[in-house]
Symmetry: C2
Subunit: 134 residues, 2 copies
DNA sequence: AAATAAATGCAACTCTGTGGCATTTAAAAA
DNA sequence: TTTTTAAATGCCACAGAGTTGCATTTATTT
């Protein structure tokens, strides 16, 4: 993917094409698993401010470029692509060995029985196991 | 439930029957939904130290008296009873209105297809919706 | 090139949770 | 019952993730 496409995506989403955002977006599009704040800092060789990074992530998420994931590790992870939404859910897979987090394909509508009076709107599933690299 | 039963449970688990633990256990057994640290402090009218409370929760959890729940709110919740375990999974329901967290009944084994090379060991499901009180 | 509005960096701060250590308390031994 | 002991408590300081205010810089518009 060439530099132009990052810029196009930012423009399309109405986001300023700044140095930080281009580098960050480039990184997100070049890796396959979810990233923590620390992963990102390391990838950007710590040359970006903490607030700036968090704010960039927030912008990206609001624009639907990335989505955040709670993998129950205590650290929020971020992954490229639209969030799981109504009718387009996807589960997240956490490898118990390498701790990496992957977005899974479309999630088949789960049948989960709840007590009378409870109405389920959405299901968030976290799969734990061993990934294909381990 | 009378005072004796709390003490019996603590003794059975090999835990000292202290004032804090008895009060805490009594509280857990008297409510139906999961509790955050702040909920518990309020219930114990703030007369117990933060470290002590967290350490009591850790003891209870290790003993299998309670289990902790990540409801994606940022605050860990604690509920009475055994944790979801292999062959005895249960999902958690988060009410989008009142934010309360409930333990659901036994979770039917979910069929979730993962890519080749991934092996799923367990599934943690969080249901979001509206509870019977709202 | 000048004006404008948004993005950045810095520092201080909030919030959840943890760890050390002296003191107290429950349980065991005498 | 009194003494011993080991674990629980309280206090305090700290760690780590994330947020906010504000002055400065930078991308975009005019
Ligand atoms: Mn995902
Ligand atoms: Mn539960
Ligand atoms: Zn792995
Ligand atoms: Zn409710």
């Amino acid at each position: 993917m060439k530099e132009e496409s990052y810029k196009q995506l930012l423009e399309q989403k109405g986001l300023k094409k700044t140095k930080v955002r281009i580098t960050l977006l480039q990184h997100f599009m070049s890796i396959e698993h979810a990233q923590s704040y620390n992963d990102l800092q390391a990838a950007l060789v710590n040359e970006v401010d903490k607030s700036t990074l968090y704010r960039s992530l927030a912008s990206f998420e609001q624009a639907g470029i990335i989505h955040s994931i709670n993998d129950h590790s205590g650290l929020t992870k971020y992954a490229f692509g639209q969030p799981p939404s109504q009718g387009n859910e996807h589960a997240h897979f956490v490898c118990e060995q390498c701790k990496m987090v992957y977005c899974m394909g479309k999630l088949a509508p789960l049948q989960l029985n709840v007590p009378k009076g409870f109405k389920t709107n959405k299901v968030q599933a976290i799969l734990k196991g061993v990934c294909s690299d381990c």
